[in-house]
Amino acid sequence: MEQAANQVTGNSAILAPGGTSHATPRKKWSRGTSLATWITIAILMILAGAFFLYLLVPLAALLLHAPPSEIWHQMQQPDVIAALKLSLVTTTISTVLGVIFGLPAAILLARTSFPGHRFLEVLATIPTVLPPTVAGLALLLTYGRTGLVGKYLNILGIQIPFTTTAVVMAQIFVAAPFFVNTAKSGLEQLHSRYETAAYTLRASPFQAFRYVVLPLVSPALLTAVGLAWARALGEFGATITFAGNFPGVTQTLPIAVYIASQTNLDKSIAVSVILLAVSFAVLLTLGLARTLLSRKWSI
């Protein structure tokens, strides 16, 4: 619910900078509301409630199955600490790289039109539908030591598979498209008249982007960052295929969960809860940051 409210304030900030809000305010139901409207609201609530329950109950089942003592015990295990550390480091790097390369790609797709535009648009979405194992296999066939690019890297003495670099590359391949697509739709929703106004004030393209576009789309960008980061954190299939599994080098938290599930179900559930807690903390922080940014730019 809070999430939805944030979304509304986020959008109104994009549509109405400077406080002159012409965006639709949140609906308030007056006393004269008809029966049909009440039925609509009731159905809406039931469907939305069913949806949230559908998401919540399996997560609650995990929590109920893992006693706090077991979670605390697992948090002190060296293999869990190593996997957690590796996951945090690699997802941070892959998200930063995803933004550095993905933001220009999103701007290109949202603000320009050229032959092949539609092709690039689809290309930036394909990794999100590709089964992750296939994505990992594709990376192996490209950067593996007998792969398309990898065989030349191999001559230079560079071998990527089974290294932490491979973990980061797998995460970027699978997660960065989430950033690009979300950032792109954020940019598309922003009317170009704001940039035009900036240009009439003799702003350079960089200034127009830095001082006008970026503040207005930053809530959308934070959503995009959150999505990409979360997808990278949960990444399993591409990582196990391209980077393999070696504790401390390529064993990320999701892989540690899977390995544990083969011998010790309780441990795997406890580690899953740790994974969930980390995701919740980061996504909530990003959500708060987005709310703050929205407020800052709507006053």
Binding site: S34, A36, T37, I39, T40, I43, L44, L47, L140, L141, G144, R145, T146, P161, F162, I240, T241, A243, G244, N245, F246, P247, T250, I255, Y258, I259, S261, Q262, T263, L265
Partner: protein, 275 residues
């Protein structure tokens, strides 16, 4: 406000759709119940089998169904540990064929007495191009060699460690051999197929797999035998699941696997027959 009728219509349509899905689901399950009662009527049994049995069990299915036209066999192939977890969580298995006794033991309270129906052993495979120039088991200890193994939680990974331990205790190889080979591990795969894949693609110089995997990988890999004195014979146990429907059909499937015909098929796929 004038859009409300349209929204209402859509919402009601959505509700009806959900309701109809629900009812079709329940009618589907009620339709399957009567088919289980008469003896001559078609029977479907669910066989949960270790992934390494895939090819052999597909042929056994063809033969068994030809002899029992009313029976349909549905396979669930996965890692033995995954299957054991699924059975513990109440998955509708009639028969469980595991790649090791450990995972069969995990479900011992849910199955009837298991019987060993095949054996397998460990072998080293190298890519056909042999980038690590591995000719003998000694070469696996050379520095810089990349080796893929299955994780110790996977049966074949556990057997691999047992093999290395036996070699480490021998006078021919010794403890330094064991540690040197282990230092060359670059990945601990979550399944034996992961090991085969990485060797087939030439991304590692060698991998430890079952002798059956080495044969099904075909020309893309070459295998180096591990002498029996160091090798581990993996027992494959099979059992019917207690309190499941079609107990007699499940039992006859197990008997077929243990019969000379079933054993011949397993031998064809390079399993070691029992007895």
């Amino acid at each position: 406000m004038k859009h409300f009728p349209r929204i209402m219509f859509l919402l009601i349509a959505a509700c009806l759709l959900l309701a109809s899905c629900g009812s079709s689901g329940s009618s589907g399950s009620s339709a399957s119940t009567p088919s289980s009662t008469p003896t001559a009527a078609p029977v479907t049994i669910n066989v949960f089998a270790a992934a390494s049995l895939t090819a052999a069990f597909e042929e056994i299915k063809t033969q068994f169904q030809a002899k029992n036209p009313n029976v349909t066999i549905t396979y669930n192939f996965a890692g033995s540990n995954t299957l054991a977890t699924q059975i513990t969580q109440g998955a509708p298995a009639n028969v469980f064929a595991s790649a090791d006794t450990t995972n069969m033991d995990k479900v011992s309270s849910l199955v009837n007495t298991p019987q060993t129906f095949a054996k397998n052993k460990v072998v080293v495979i190298v890519p056909a191009s042999n980038p690590g120039n591995i000719k003998t088991l000694h070469d696996l200890a050379n520095p810089g060699i990349k080796i893929a193994v299955a994780n110790s939680s996977v049966p074949v990974g556990n057997y691999t460690l047992q093999v290395l331990s036996k070699m480490g205790q021998s006078s021919e190889y010794g403890p330094s051999y064991e540690s040197a080979v282990k230092a060359n591990f670059v990945t601990l795969e979550t399944s034996v197929s992961g090991v085969v894949q990485k060797v087939q693609l030439g991304e590692v110089d060698a991998g430890y797999v079952y002798v059956t995997d080495a044969h099904s990988a075909g020309d893309k890999v070459k295998s180096i035998d591990i002498p029996d004195q160091y090798n581990v014979l993996a027992d494959y146990p099979i059992a019917t699941v207690k309190d499941s429907a079609h107990a007699s059909t499940a039992q006859s499937f197990v008997e077929y696997v243990l019969s000379p015909d079933g054993q011949a098929i397993l031998t064809k796929y390079h399993f070691i027959p029992v007895g």
